[in-house]
Symmetry: none
Subunit: 202 residues, 4 copies
């Protein structure tokens, strides 16, 4: 007698298995048979839970977009709060090794603007980026409210730069782990942004 939710639980198992395979081999090089093997089920079973390979990929991407809650304890100290949120975002990237790899295919599909799931993807993609963006933005704006950060600074630009820096460094780290002092660069990035926030005019 199957319990209620068994189906959902199994679906999640399949997603987790598929995530690993998609991350490891890439969407195009992944065969449904591989996903089935990774999940320990028969090939046909996957189609009981997802209507197609594309949809299973969407489900995987959707599942990846679960941002950790952020510690709000530095709410009174915008500078430490800013550093904390940057650190949290970096960490959340690092915790999900699959994240960047799977997203690579995700962006590829979106940017090409021809995926049949394109509109759905775009919407979901915004969500993915909105989570860290809005968190960082909130911290910056709070700091400006408090008068600690300069109000003339373009908060959106700072957030864009923060995320750009994190993603760009992450990318370099993946490409060449030997020659990049990743933590140091993140530290410098945080410092630079904070200086810009506190005294933009040099």
């Amino acid at each position: 007698m199957p319990k209620i939710g068994d189906k959902d639980a199994k679906r999640l198992d399949l997603i987790k298995a598929a995530t690993e395979v998609f991350a490891r081999d890439g969407f195009a090089n992944t065969r449904m048979a591989d996903v089935a093997v990774a999940a320990g089920v028969g090939k046909g079973t996957i189609y009981e839970y997802f209507p197609s390979k594309d949809e299973s990929f969407c489900a995987v991407c959707e599942d990846l977009v679960t941002w950790p809650e952020v510690d709000n304890s530095f709410v009174d100290d915008p500078e430490r709060g800013f550093a904390a949120i940057i650190e949290a975002v970096v960490k959340s990237y690092e915790e999900s090794n699959a994240f960047y790899l799977v997203l690579l295919d995700y962006w590829a599909a979106i940017l090409r603007e021809k995926h049949n799931q394109h509109d759905v993807f775009i919407k979901r993609a915004e969500k993915i980026y909105d989570a860290p963006r809005s968190r960082i933005l909130a911290v910056v704006k709070a700091g400006q409210q408090k008068g600690v950060f300069d109000k003339s600074v373009d908060a959106d630009a700072i957030v864009a730069l923060a995320i750009a820096g994190i993603e760009g460094l992450r990318s370099q780290k993946l490409q060449d782990p030997q020659h990049l002092d990743f933590p140091k660069c993140i530290r410098i990035l945080t410092d630079m942004l904070l200086r810009m926030l506190t005294s933009p005019k040099g």
Copy 2:
């Protein structure tokens, strides 16, 4: 009697056509027949110039990696020189619309570590990044020699951050062209980096 250079010229034509198709559809979704149509030749002709789809992709990537020579006129003014090199790199990215799109697949192949061309790709990838990296690095080091930039600053880290910022912003711009003031962000990025170079200790 074929003219000298005809074969090379045609090869380049094919590369240009292939670049567009690979950029538009992605490597996995590109059929050799599409490339042939785009180039206005028969399917078989492509194989007169490239031994396989993989190799044609490599050729395309290699062709993308031709960095423009950089203006050295600011050699006496490190700050303006730094700004100029950043601008040049940004511009060279922008001049090749295909660049980022094609490189997406390129990185995907490299990061998976299992592509049969993986080692070749890695070697070529280093070349891709070495060009802008070494140019920026030279400018930074020259500035440090002149005493304009602080010698305690980690030049490699600054270069990594510059490239990370440029790539990260470019990525965001592609994903969501509406909500990003790209030129402004690049300007802020340059400012931040220059401040770090001139007075690192805040």
Copy 3:
């Protein structure tokens, strides 16, 4: 719930169908689609049972090499025993019309020494010839033990001549069925060999 042996049975069905097509059209002129049609299955199905065209051909050849058990009732009469084994070999050739035709390609592949399956082929080919060879050899040696056949006769040479004669006649029969009295020639061949076995010195 598939019955045990179903897969093996189907594999055998495919082999039988492939044998006919390979025999009729030759390896090079056979398209996998033809085999599929002959077997009444889809093109892809063949690849569920054989990894490649080459391998399916090997399987066909291997299947051809199942020599019938030989009647041992003439164990006490070496001369009749020898005639019986020759007859059995001839018959086993004749029972498989496909045999010679398929083996033509087989030998072609082996003799070229450059087929990628060459070594496997050679090993299997030895098995093909070893079966009739060892049977005839056993009868000859038994006859020599009994003193009915002359011990000075080179048993290996006689066996080689027996097989050469059978194959050569078979080949002529296939090439020109009208002008050859095959049974008579086989009879003369047997007589000649027996005379050589019983009184080698004329």
Copy 4:
């Protein structure tokens, strides 16, 4: 100013080159480009001399069918004459390494009865076999006329057996050169046939 016959001479050059390639790689595995390389000419040149690959193969086969004249010096000694003609046939086989290899494909085409050149091939094939056949037959019949060979012997059957033996042994020699004492077997074959010719009734 090209001499008369230059064209024929070149045609023969191409045939010789093609013969080697067809013998080495087999008809199916031979590309016209290979033939061109072997002949030291351009791909297109071959089509100036032969209308198609099939026709070039026919030309090669036709060229192979040039039997050496046989020494008639033993015309008064049928037994030595018979041995001599057998030896001559064996030698003519051996002198043309390509012969057997190319003929393999030739027979394959003929036996399949579906080659578009089938009828032409059959006619030519008869010629190929008629040459040695008629020579041996002539010697046998001459011996019977002289009363040296028994007139009750079926001359055609003896000829068939002679050729069958030679071809069968040749085939075994090619397949497994190590384990066959070819000259000895040919000697025994000749002895057996002579005994049958001189005293058929044992």
